[in-house]
Amino acid sequence: MEPCEFPHIEQQLTPVFKRQGQGADRLLQILLEAQDIFHYIPAGALDCVAAQLGVPRTRVEGVAGFYSFLSLESVGEYRVLFSDNITDHMLGKPELMQYFCNKLWVEPGRVSEDDLVSVDSTSCTGMCDQGPAALVNGWPLTSLDHNRLDLVIELIRARKPVADWPPMLFEVGDNIHRAGVLLGEPFEAGAGIKAALVRGAEATLKEVELSNLRGRGGAGFPTSRKWGACRSSPGTAHYVVCNADEGEPGTFKDRVLLTSHADQVFEGMTVAARVVGAAKGLLYLRGEYRYLLQRLQETLARRRAAGLLGRSILGGAGFDFEIEIHLGAGAYICGEESALIESLEGKRGRPRNRPPFPVAHGYLDQPTVVDNVETFACAARIAEKGGAWFAGIGTPESSGSKILSVSGDCARPGIYEYPFGVTVREVLADCGAEEPFAVQVSGPSGTTLSWREFDRRICFEDLPTAGAFMVFRRGRDMFDAASNFARFFAHESCGFCTPCRVGTQLQRKIMDKIAGGHGTASDLEELKGLGRLMKDMSHCGLGHTAPNPVLDTLEKFPDMYERRLKALAFEPAFDLDGALATARRITGRDDEWAHV
């Protein structure tokens, strides 16, 4: 280890290094703590961390520059990030954020002159059922209104540490309105593991196969095949990874599972460990859910004390398993399993080239199972109650239940668990949607449904979903929703491949042009062409699905685009007269020739 040239910074980081260890895989976790200490990652910290971990400075700078919750420039003592999902917008986010900025004399995206506070937007924080939401130094603020913001402003002006703020500002409700086999039936911690131990690994895998369980992250890959492939892949160690990077805007069911059913999730991971022969599990918790970290650690400690984790679990000789929690730091792409693995290894969240697949070469190049939070919760139940029981619920190709995160224009936003096969119409009725007009199923990367399609069913045969269900009533402008989603993808593209890095930007720019009243019919054709290109040429699911909301709304709500178009066949790509404003100001001119 080389000596660090910044003794002051090194001194503050020493306890972090002690706590986190010095493996290169700890890099992201260390930088998260550094961000807390300095309110950004100072250049000197890059050098210190690089020296301490024995990695190139470029690697540290690469990670620090990749994640939204880390910054290379100061963001002030208080960093307030307003959730930018369309549901937050429908609940008044733009006006509230402006109000907040005006009161604090700070521009969005900037730091106040006294370095006290910065305000910006952030991708959906997973609080759509209780928005508008925000994060203050990583802690979630929910159900924001002017009164609550006034209080927040007062606290910031008084420089009160966030830890001492009134707890009611941070209350997060579960809002479970319909519970099924996962959320509604009592679960005894250890029941799944006991059954798995009695049955044995091979037979437990058989039960999972019998259950027809498919991945709950949306893609629906058969879980038993994933586990089986990992189990039979040679390696020095096997790993079980829980994907709790619930970043798809409009999705918050994992938040609730981890809040109130964490035992079930950890149990599922432990069962998976038994099947694939893993001694280590990792839960990747999205940065937005950092507030759950302590409680999850406590659950792990309790399970350890109860013999459900650690050495010889429940007396099973040689059944050793530990679970570690890693924090994400604001990067939607890390929900992609290979990007998630990269992030777990303390790197930039860039999706890997496949093959090889994670089941053979995953975390630290070893066989790894990566499953969604809900998938593990299902697995725990299947281990306990058997595959046949599970397969009896739902539809032939979609066994079991699905937890939906319902938000938007409805009386009762929150969590709804249904057996697979439920129609969109039933869900709309249950959540009290008035005059529903459109539903965004499975978030921006999913499907936009028009009112003509409400008899379609939530299941892999028809509408696969990771759980988001955003309702839009009559009168809502679906162009605005698509624009919001286009902005989201442009912000979240990892930048690795050309079509997605540039394509998501171009898509956003064209949507902005149309929104500004400068769009033409040729811009619509351009959007379609771009969509095809991104789908055909992108590296991963982000690029493949980024055009979905634009293409869907173009097809199903063309009038919402067309009424914005200029009648002219061609419109300049930029605002000509606006581009002369600077020169007008400098020259003091406003004559006829100073305009076009």
């Binding site: 040239e5 470029t58 700078e61 520059g65 912000h491 050309t498 890095r501 055909d536 992108s538 590296h539």
Partner: protein, 235 residues
């Protein structure tokens, strides 16, 4: 069973472990590419080498060759999509060929010629990017960087120096330099490093070499990149 696949109907042998790109190169079949260089680990980021295998698009530089693959490569659809990707690269950076010393030797430009690209089509981004002239022998002009990471790989894999890396995300992705100041002049880079030789564009240039070979007599001025790279090996 013989290890062969077909590319545009032509049967091509491959050895186990080879990618589609490897097999194509060995057989003298040109697949357009920018971020790939056979001397380094495949990257798969530019997507110029996308081919269609049994109906699915895959990056040929990272996809292992397999028996019986039916690969489509030189088709109007794929070349059209590749042209669009090139136009994206031209639009997102500041590629001012007339003032670039790499002009005529530039792979980005050569591919544009090869694919008959006459204009950038997309709205120009004109990003604000830094030029670093601090090194005595090497100029780093980020305006021309296409994020292929060839210099990153070369510095790490060959030079053993890790001089380069990427930071930022999405459209903000940028090349960073391993030095406390972030400046090339304070890094361990030497003009003889492999990293300096592999840039496919003019983002990394050796100083005081300007116009030793006049424009008009450069690598791709008279021969398309497809010919240069298949007859003379990889430059």
């Amino acid at each position: 069973m013989s290890d062969t696949l077909t590319i545009d109907g032509k049967e091509i042998p491959y050895r186990p472990g080879q990618t589609i790109m490897d097999a194509a190169m060995a057989a003298g079949v040109y697949i357009p590419h920018l971020c790939h260089n056979p001397e380094f680990k495949p990257h798969g980021s530019c997507k110029l080498c996308m081919v269609n295998v049994n109906g699915r698009n895959v990056a040929s530089c990272t996809m292992p060759a397999a028996s019986g693959m039916t690969v489509l490569n030189d088709t109007p659809e794929l070349n059209g999509a590749r042209r669009s990707l090139l136009q994206m690269l031209f639009a997102e950076g500041n590629h001012l060929c007339p003032v670039c010393e790499r002009s005529g030797n530039c792979h980005l430009q050569a591919l544009a010629y090869y694919l008959g690209m006459t204009n950038p089509h997309y709205v120009q981004f004109y990003p604000s990017r830094e030029v670093d002239a601090s090194h005595p022998d090497v100029l780093l002009d980020r305006n021309r960087c296409i994020m292929c990471e060839l210099c990153v790989r070369a510095s790490s894999e060959v030079d053993g120096k890790d001089v380069f890396g990427l930071s930022g995300r999405g459209i903000q992705t940028r090349l960073v330099v391993n030095a406390p100041t972030g400046l090339l002049g304070d890094s361990a880079l030497a003009v003889s490093d492999k990293a300096v030789q592999v840039c496919p564009t003019g983002a990394l240039l050796i100083k005081r070499q300007g116009y030793r070979v006049p424009v008009g007599r450069r690598m791709f001025d008279h021969k398309p990149i497809s010919v240069v790279q298949t007859e003379g090996g990889h430059d």
